[in-house]
């Protein structure tokens, strides 16, 4: 029967109208999708047709703020090769009918609110090369049938709520190049079969619930450029065979790895990023890591590493991030670190380091963040810090530094945070701190600072916290401090301040707790020399 027969073109036009009907927020975005006023659907926004057959081959409606759902009518676009709906607000499930679009090679439905399972019907798409369902709310398992797609090169299912194991069959794919599974709830272990992915360069299972060990045979994954298994619950030691990898990024952080850092890692010169942080690694930092002269980021923090900081690390000439904090490192800070001209962040906090900060550190001209909090460092604050003009974060707190605060710290005009608290610093608070025009936090509490609060601090228009408590500062609180209109956190308690506390502007918000322990300071609280009497 020919009843109800329509030409294929009209049929696809109807399908497009049905697709539009199940979207919401279409009023402005799909204005020209209107079969009454313009039935040439090949001219509609985001629609591309074949030149000869006038059949829809591509649908690109990305980032149009579309709501609603994806209509099952999508399955009527039988010649569709590419669909891109990423970056909308589409809810509902991925229609099973997508499996009818047998020519689909490119599917991007990422960054929407799609929920439900990944339909098995996707496995019928034998031409599919690119499947991106990242950043949705998909649940259920990764369909093992995805392995039936012979040409799949990119599979990105990151940031959903997928559960179950990574299907082992998925690993027996010689064309897959990109596997992005980060940010799901996948369980099970890393299978040795993963090295059967002989064309894969991107392997990312960061932030799942994977358990078990790193397979002994990991070194066979020689095509991998990126191996990210971070933030899972992987246990056991880092196998020696890891040294056979050719990766640029080795991210093993946030697991429960034990044992030592294998020396063989020092031979992996292709490493751009080595992140072993937040594990349970013990033993020393192998000096051979200093051979990694092309590495830009070395993160070993949050382990139980012992022994000294190897001076060889000064040979890592491309290093921009060095984080060794929160370990049990001993000895002194090697002056060789001063050779790291590209170093951006140096974090040695919470170790057992002793001795002074070597003056060579001031050669690290690119240094932006320097943190040695919570060690046993002593000596004076190096005058050379004035050369570190890019510093935004300087934390020397919780050490045994002594002597006076160099006035040249006031030259660090990009400084946002300056924490010198809990040391044995004496002398005055430099008036030059008034030049710290970007500063947000100054904390010099728990030292032996004397002198007065410099009135120049009133110049600090960005300061949020001024913490001066538990020193021996005397004199008046300068009225100029009331000009610091960003100041919300002031603590001058337990000093030898005297006179009357200013009451203007933001000073009306500070509670007595900001001023306690200054017996000669006059404020409006019970017990103050001029306060209300009991």
């Amino acid at each position: 029967t020919f009843l109800g027969f329509v030409s294929p073109i009209n049929n696809e036009g109807k399908a497009l109208m049905a697709i539009k009907a199940s979207f919401s927020n279409v009023a402005n975005m799909l204005l020209d999708w209107d079969n009454v006023h313009n039935n040439d659907f090949c001219s509609w926004r985001g629609v591309i047709c074949d030149n000869v057959s006038f059949s829809v081959v591509s649908l690109n409606l990305s980032n149009l703020n579309l709501g609603g759902e994806i209509s099952p009518a999508l399955g009527d676009l039988r010649n569709l090769q590419s669909i891109d709906l990423q970056g909308n607000k589409l809810g509902g499930q991925i229609p099973d009918e997508i499996g009818n679009c047998a020519s689909l090679a490119y599917v991007d439905l990422s960054t929407n609110f799609l929920f439900g399972d990944i339909p098995f019907s996707i496995s019928k798409l034998k031409q599919l090369e690119f499947l991106n369902l990242k950043s949705n709310q998909l649940t259920g398992p990764i369909p093992a049938t995805l392995t039936q797609i012979p040409n799949l090169k990119t599979l990105d299912l990151a940031r959903n709520q997928l559960t179950g194991e990574i299907p082992r069959l998925l690993y027996w794919n010689e064309v897959l190049q990109y596997l992005g599974l980060r940010g799901n709830m996948l369980t099970g272990t890393l299978s040795p079969d993963m090295c059967q992915l002989t064309d894969l360069w991107y392997f990312d299972v960061r932030g799942n619930n994977l358990t078990g060990n790193i397979p002994e045979s990991i070194g066979n994954c020689t095509s991998f450029e990126i191996l990210d298994v971070s933030y899972n619950q992987i246990t056991g030691v880092i196998p020696y065979n890891i040294g056979f990898l050719q990766v640029a990024t080795l991210s093993l952080q946030g697991n429960r790895l034990t044992g030592r850092i294998p020396e063989v890692i020092g031979l992996m010169q292709a490493l751009a990023v080595l992140d072993l942080s937040d594990n349970e690694l013990i033993g020393p930092i192998p000096p051979i890591l200093g051979n990694l002269s092309f590495t830009g980021k070395l993160y070993l923090h949050g382990n139980k590493l012992t022994g000294p900081i190897p001076p060889n690390l000064g040979n890592m000439s491309r290093l921009s991030y060095l984080q060794l904090n929160d370990n049990e490192l001993v000895g002194t800070i090697p002056p060789e670190l001063g050779k790291l001209e590209q170093l951006f962040e140096l974090n040695l906090a919470n170790n057992h380091l002793v001795g002074p900060i070597p003056s060579n550190i001031s050669s690290c001209a690119a240094l932006n963040q320097f943190n040695v909090h919570g060690n046993f460092l002593n000596g004076s604050i190096p005058l050379g810090f004035r050369n570190l003009g890019s510093l935004t974060y300087l934390d020397l707190s919780g050490n045994n530094f002594s002597g006076s605060i160099p006035s040249t710290l006031g030259d660090l005009e990009h400084l946002l945070t300056l924490n010198l608290s809990r040391n044995q610093l004496n002398g005055p608070l430099p008036a030059e701190f008034g030049n710290l025009r970007s500063i947000q936090i100054i904390d010099v509490s728990f030292n032996f600072l004397a002198g007065v609060i410099p009135s120049e601090l009133g110049l600090l228009q960005t300061i949020n916290s001024l913490i001066l408590n538990n020193n021996k500062i005397h004199g008046k609180i300068p009225d100029q401090l009331t000009n610091c209109f960003s100041l919300v956190n002031l603590n001058v308690s337990f000093n030898n301040l005297s006179g009357i506390i200013p009451t203007m502007k933001n000073f009306s918000h500070f509670t007595p707790a900001s001023f306690f322990g200054n017996p000669f300071l006059c404020g409006n609280w019970v017990g103050s020399i001029c306060g209300p009497s009991k």
């Binding site: 991106n132 991107y202 990312d204 450029e225 050719q246 640029a248 010169q269 751009a272």
Partner: protein
């Protein structure tokens, strides 16, 4: 693969040489690039890979 340093059959790797990987463009040098498909500015810590760079063009090693 290209980064292979297996001449001696042992472990270890080295960066790509980028020799004749940028077509006719010179100089062609290996660089680290963050890999975050679909976004030009990384929103969080993302892995890095080696690419060959000439001017402001990137090529596969």
């Amino acid at each position: 693969r290209l980064m292979s340093n297996r001449r001696f059959g042992g472990p270890g790797s080295s960066p790509p040489t980028c020799r004749s990987k940028c077509g006719k463009c010179q100089p062609c040098k290996p660089v680290h690039v963050p890999i975050q498909p679909g976004l030009s500015i990384p929103l969080e810590y993302y892995p890095e890979a080696w690419r060959c760079k000439c001017g402001n063009k990137l090529f596969m090693p």
